[in-house]
């Protein structure tokens, strides 16, 4: 085949939403390249196959117990065999913990090029050009892939899933000959993070703080502002990593997705991982001292100001309003 092969990401018995985004990207790319878009489901059941079938011209389904839970080694063996047999131009994976565990080693095993975090594609005379983010989403980069096939990992929350169409053909694939040797790594279990009972997804107003907070002591005035608005505090990854806020307050692709009535982003630069978790808020107000911070592309209202200067002023004015 020519065209695009999209690997379905599933977990705990369900196809993950990101799969439909990547399938939408795959369809667009296939049209650009002049080929079809084929989905590959490793493990999974008929229900998953049914969920995906309307989003691709063909679905290759390799149902096998060794593929039930994600293990990059088993997945890689099957993907390598399928790519060598079916010869797609591009293999698309989501740029997730799943895709990232598999993409680089699959590209090496196939001896082909690899692009991370793709947000756009175009075909040129020199080859495929993939657009991606770099430098904390402050810059875009156009990368040329002179020769295909290539493995491309697609950014989450970037492509809009399409409505399902007529279900495509489903082809069964027997991967068992590939599993004569057991994999070196062993999946043990999935574990939930310990819960402290905080649920930021229920809040109407969220104040998110980022690296611009600078130190934990600076949380106190932000908490006062939150109290005056009846808001809950949340944070971007650096704030959580530093231990200043609980992990359950992390907003972003590796934390929570929130859709409050109001999200106030303080000192958050707006890397896509964070934006993916809060762009669904009804109103977003962003405060950052860097006028070029990518957060201003996601916000409805932007304020270029040092958050430490603005927060007490905002708090004072809200208190006046209340009294």
């Amino acid at each position: 085949m020519s065209g695009v092969m999209v690997l379905v990401e599933h977990r705990q018995g369900a196809v993950r939403d990101v799969t439909f985004e990547v399938l939408a990207a795959g369809k667009g790319l296939a049209a650009e390249l002049g080929g079809g878009c084929e989905a590959v489901l490793l493990g999974g059941d008929e229900a998953m196959a049914g969920a995906v079938a309307g989003h691709a011209e063909r679905l290759v389904h390799a149902g096998h117990e060794l593929l039930a839970d994600f293990n990059y080694e088993n997945y890689q063996r099957v993907m390598k065999a399928l790519v060598e047999e079916r010869k797609p131009d591009v293999v698309l994976l989501p740029h997730t913990a799943f895709g990232n565990d598999l993409g680089p080693s699959l590209a090496v095993a196939l001896g082909c090029g690899l692009v991370s975090d793709a947000i756009g594609f175009s075909k040129t005379d020199d080859g495929l050009v993939v657009t991606r983010g770099m430098y904390a989403s402050k810059l875009n980069a156009d990368l040329l892939v002179p020769s295909l096939p290539a493995v491309v990992m697609v950014r989450q929350s970037q492509f809009k899933p399409a409505e399902p169409g007529t279900p495509g053909e489903v082809v069964q694939y027997d991967p068992s000959p590939l599993f004569e040797q057991p994999p070196a790594t062993k999946f043990i279990t999935l574990e939930e993070l310990p819960s402290t009972g905080i649920d930021i997804t229920k809040a109407d107003i969220i104040i998110g703080v980022g690296r611009g907070l600078k130190e934990e002591a600076n949380l106190a005035p932000v908490q006062e502002l939150a109290d005056s608005l009846g808001a809950v505090l949340a944070g971007s990854r650096p704030v959580i990593d530093a231990g200043w806020l609980e992990k359950e307050r992390q907003v972003g692709s590796s934390g929570k997705t929130v859709k409050p009535k109001l999200y106030i982003a303080l000192g958050i630069s707006g890397a896509f991982q964070h934006v993916a978790g809060m762009k669904g808020a009804d109103t977003i107000i962003a405060v950052n001292k860097d006028p070029h911070a990518p957060i201003f592309a996601a916000a409805h209202y932007g304020i270029v100001e040092d958050m430490h200067k603005l927060v007490p002023v905002l708090k004072a004015q809200l208190s006046e309003t209340a009294s």
């Binding site: 994600f70 990059y72 080694e73 997730t96 913990a97 799943f98 990232n100 565990d101 598999l102 993409g103 680089p104 090496v108 690899l114 991370s116 050009v129 993939v130 983010g133 770099m134 430098y135 989403s137 875009n140 980069a141 156009d142 990368l143 040329l144 892939v145 002179p146 020769s147 994999p183 790594t185 999946f187 043990i188 999935l190 107003i205 608005l229 990854r237 959580i240 990593d241 231990g243 992990k247 692709s253 590796s254 009535k261 630069s269 109103t283 962003a286 001292k289 860097d290 006028p291 070029h292 201003f296 592309a297 916000a299 209202y301 932007g302 304020i303 905002l314 004015q317 809200l318 309003t321």
Partner: protein, 262 residues
């Protein structure tokens, strides 16, 4: 146990205005502070914790120009035993997989039980090197590792998945782990550590010493090539609220009132 930690010298861009230079393929560097890549710092901390719980030698490895030695010194000051810099002459602008190939060439010369990398470099954000190095060496790997426990011959790791889930898995040594931020608290170097770092060995290697042909190992041999960097076009950008801090606050409060939120 012998542990290698791959570290990269990167610009601290968190609050900086990032501009593209005249070549269109790099950023203006003179405005940045440079530091050790954040995720690599967490990887180093995991290695130092292992060193404290069992007998282990921690070796820092970087690919870069002369200045990249700075980050080796930082890591030596925290407790790594020695540093190795692979000079990047001829390898500048090599893509992620070729960078992994240069590192793998080194790991074929000197054997390790465990290789740790950060899961992402904060400049180019490839997230490719760790798992690619593993595949080139024929070793198993795990990406986005947030916790690890060392056993007799195997390692038990937790990988961070999206949405607050962890994947627990076991892998034999030797292996490569790419470490996610937040799983530990990276230490600061002590005064004594900084003093000692100066006398710790730092080796330098180049492409030739690793038997790498720069035609293949550098940009020309890369399977992807950076055409250009640019500031993304902003669509549907925010309405900017102007004025002094007081005026900005007043306008913001009005927006909240209009929506019944204040």
């Amino acid at each position: 146990m012998k542990i290698a930690v791959c570290v990269k010298r990167v610009p601290d861009i968190s609050e900086a205005d990032v501009q593209v230079d005249g070549s269109g393929r790099d950023v203006v560097k003179d405005r940045f502070q440079f530091t050790i890549n954040e995720a690599d710092n967490y990887a180093l901390e995991e290695a130092l914790l292992l060193k404290e719980s069992e007998d282990a030698e921690v070796v820092l490895v970087t690919v870069g120009p002369q200045e990249a030695s700075e980050v080796l010194r930082m890591g030596l000051a925290k407790g790594a035993a020695r540093g190795v810099r692979i000079d990047d002459t001829g390898l500048e602008k090599a893509d992620g997989l070729n960078l992994a190939a240069a590192l793998a060439a080194y790991f074929r010369k000197e054997e390790f039980d465990l290789v740790l990398t950060g899961c992402i470099a904060q400049d180019v954000e490839d997230s490719q090197v760790g798992p690619a190095v593993a595949e080139l060496l024929g070793w198993p790997h795990a990406a986005y590792v947030i916790a690890l426990e060392s056993g007799d011959s195997a390692l038990k790791v937790k990988r961070e998945l999206e949405g607050g889930l962890l994947e627990v898995k076991e892998l034999p040594r030797p292996c490569v782990l790419s470490v996610q931020t937040g799983g530990n608290t990276p230490r600061y170097a002590s005064i004594l550590g900084i003093k000692r770092a100066g006398s710790k060995p730092m080796d330098e290697l180049d492409a030739a010493a690793l038997e790498l042909n720069v035609e293949e190992a550098g940009e020309a041999g890369s399977k992807t090539r950076l055409l250009k960097l640019y500031v993304p076009e902003v669509t549907g950008a925010a309405e900017m609220i102007e004025g002094d801090a007081n005026e900005k606050a007043t306008k913001a409060v009005q927006i909240l009132k209009d929506r019944g939120l204040a």
